[in-house]
């Protein structure tokens, strides 16, 4: 059945006919080649962009919301409006216990401090934190470690500092771990230096000390600055935000409709917007690529169809000499498949080069716009298969046309 594919004559015929119609062959191949190239280039770029977003947000628990207290805007149960709202550890605990879909609730305190070491002074944002923070906003440590449970338990005076703080307070190449810095006149031991994240959420956070130490030093008691809440996978973070706020209003005797009592920043929502954008872009990419491909294949079909009209007389002659319709169709289909396959493979190869070039120009360094711009082999393979199938089907249209008439009618064609 497929022996003809291994016969020199078949290919001789294909090459002869492609050579004879150079312009048509070239145009056809350019069409398919361009389609594949575009598909790979676009898909690769979209993937690269997605990877770069993922790298930016990879260190963040993206399914999270920050909530802090503001001032009430409605009088409620004898309270005047304009009352300051203060979150407490109890609030945190209640949320963790009562709101559905909660994974973690992290209470945090933050303030502006001045830090000094050897006459070097700077003003920084310092946060009182639990070790859990490292899980929700991964700290990339350059040296040392982040806070641990012992630091919390013993109210240790230890601090993890950002590389910014390190640069301001320490000499170049100096080892900071184990050294002391003075924060608002209290000595803290440096336990770690962390990298500054590419993505900034709110004001910078330059130093982290144990939550309990913070409580003790600043007489915080139960009071906390704000809450960071993360949802379990599969739970809608927007719903969690609504539920948590309602609970907080209840706990703090605030009017349920008071929308200004609590401020919040929903990272999940913002992230979803970005993800939506990415998905949209991928969809667009597929659409453009596939449309181009289809257009290319149709161009081939059209060109083959013209070719068949041109070649009708030739086909008439061949039939007079004893060619069966099947042999003629087969020949034209082999021609169509061959031309799409070759153009497709060339498209894949040059698409690969495009990706290499993209990676070279936009994919280098930590803040690269495209990270690992690539296309999966499966996608490429499927695109190729679809291309060849379409090429075959479209090749068949003119083939049927050429063999459906009586040989004499084909011969009479001028």
């Amino acid at each position: 059945m497929f022996r003809f594919l291994f016969e020199r004559d078949t290919w001789q015929e294909v090459l002869d006919s492609l050579k004879k119609n150079k312009l048509r062959s070239v145009l056809t191949m350019v069409g398919v080649w361009w389609g594949i190239l575009l598909l790979i280039g676009l898909l690769g770029s979209a993937r690269g962009l997605e990877n770069s977003f993922n790298r930016l947000f990879g260190d963040f628990a993206t399914n999270s919301v920050f909530i802090w207290g503001q001032r009430t805007s409605k009088p409620f149960q004898g309270f005047q409006e304009g009352r300051g709202v203060q979150l407490s550890l109890t609030d945190a605990k209640k949320i963790e216990e009562n709101v559905e879909g909660i994974e973690f609730v992290l209470p945090r305190n933050q303030r502006q401090v001045s830090a000094t070491r050897n006459f070097q002074t700077g003003s920084f944002q310092m946060v009182g934190d639990y070790p859990l923070l490292d899980k929700l906003q991964k700290k990339n440590l350059l040296n040392g470690r982040f806070l641990n449970e012992n630091d919390i338990k013993d109210n240790k005076k230890v601090v993890a500092i950002s590389e910014d703080v390190y640069k301001q307070l320490f000499e170049k190449d100096e080892n900071a771990i184990g050294q002391y810095i003075e924060i608002n006149d209290i000595n803290f031991k440096v336990i770690g230096v962390f990298e500054i994240s590419n993505v900034r959420m709110g004001p910078s956070q330059d130093m982290h000390i144990p939550f309990t130490t913070y409580q003790q030093i600043y007489n915080q008691g139960d009071r906390i600055g704000w809450l960071m809440i993360t949802g379990k996978p599969g739970f809608d973070i927007k719903q969690i935000e609504v539920d948590s706020k309602l609970l907080l209003k209840n706990l703090n005797t605030i009017h349920p409709d008071d929308n200004r009592a609590f401020g919040s920043f929903n990272l999940g929502k913002e992230f979803a917007k970005l993800t939506g954008f990415l998905i949209g872009m991928q969809f667009l990419t597929w659409f453009v690529g596939v449309a181009t491909l289809i257009a290319g294949v149709f161009a081939i079909g059209n060109i083959l169809l013209i070719a068949v009209r041109e070649r009708t007389k030739e086909i008439g002659v061949r039939r007079a000499l004893g060619a069966t319709p099947f042999e003629i169709k087969r020949q034209i289909v082999v021609e169509a498949v061959f031309i799409t396959l070759v153009a497709g493979i060339l498209g894949i190869i040059s698409g690969g080069w495009i990706l290499i070039a993209l990676d070279h120009f936009f994919g280098q360094g930590d803040d690269a716009a495209l990270v690992n711009a690539s296309v999966s082999i499966a996608v490429v393979f499927i695109a190729l298969v679809i291309l060849v199938i379409l090429g075959t089907l479209i090749g068949l249209i003119p083939a049927f046309k050429a063999t459906s008439v009586k040989p004499i009618e084909a011969l009479r064609e001028e």
Binding site: K313, G316, R318, A320, L321, G322, T324, I408, L411
Partner: protein, 233 residues
């Protein structure tokens, strides 16, 4: 060789139809050389094409070499054309991007012959028409007479029983026409049955039998004394 009985053919033209062949009765024996004559539009080509299975009759009987030709699938027709029939056209109908040799070898390709064998056999036939040294030339590099000789070699390549020629000399000058006729007479001498359509009396007289068509029927069918073409060459 072939028997035809009450053959009819009409072409639809708009709402009406043009009755071209109105009951042809014809019988040709093996080894005959028949000229079909008649005024333009009398249906000569139509008859020849039906005999060549390039076209189909509306009604009537056609038996070729003992086989009734009726309602053939295109595949079967292709096989018969390949095995029984050789065609020579007025306008040569060579494939313009193939060399003389490849053109001659084409019917053998469709017979499924191996490439090497095929090209050898094609070369043999090209030699017979005296074009061995032109074997690797494209049709556009050949003269009209040479093209027709390539076409004859191609028609002969598959060793058909019946050779059909529609005005084979129609596009050639007198001298070249006579050369071509000399070839065709030679083939007939060797036993090939030949049917040709022609307008020219002198060419018709180089055949052994002349059939004249008029108004869709055969109005005259005569044996003639063959004039040999060599004497003019």
């Amino acid at each position: 060789m072939l028997q035809i009985h009450q053959l009819h053919k009409s072409y639809p033209i708009g709402d009406s139809s043009l009755h071209v062949l109105k009951g042809i009765d014809l019988s040709v024996e093996e080894g005959e050389m028949v000229a079909i004559m008649g005024s333009s539009g009398s249906g000569k080509s139509t008859l020849l094409n039906i005999i060549g299975m390039l076209d189909e009759a509306d009604s009537g009987e056609y038996i070729l070499d003992g086989l009734t030709i009726k309602d053939l699938t295109e595949k079967k027709a292709a096989v018969y054309r390949n095995k029984f029939l050789g065609f020579i056209f007025q306008s040569f109908n060579l494939i313009n991007y193939k060399t003389a040799l490849e053109n001659v070898a084409l019917p053998l390709y469709y017979q499924g012959m191996k490439r090497k064998e095929r090209l050898e056999l094609a070369m043999f036939h090209l030699e017979k028409v005296g074009l061995a040294e032109w074997s690797h030339h494209l049709p556009k590099e050949l003269s009209g007479g040479q093209k027709q000789r390539v076409a004859i070699a191609r028609a002969l390549a598959a060793n058909p029983k019946l050779l059909l020629a529609d005005e084979p000399t129609g596009a050639l000058d007198t001298k070249t026409s006579h050369e071509i006729m000399a070839f065709i007479q030679h083939l007939n001498d060797e036993g090939k049955t030949i049917l040709m359509v022609t307008h020219e009396e002198d060419i018709a007289n180089m055949c052994k039998r002349i059939i004249r068509l008029r108004d869709g029927v055969i109005m005259e069918d005569t044996k003639v004394n063959q004039v040999r073409a060599e004497q003019y060459v």
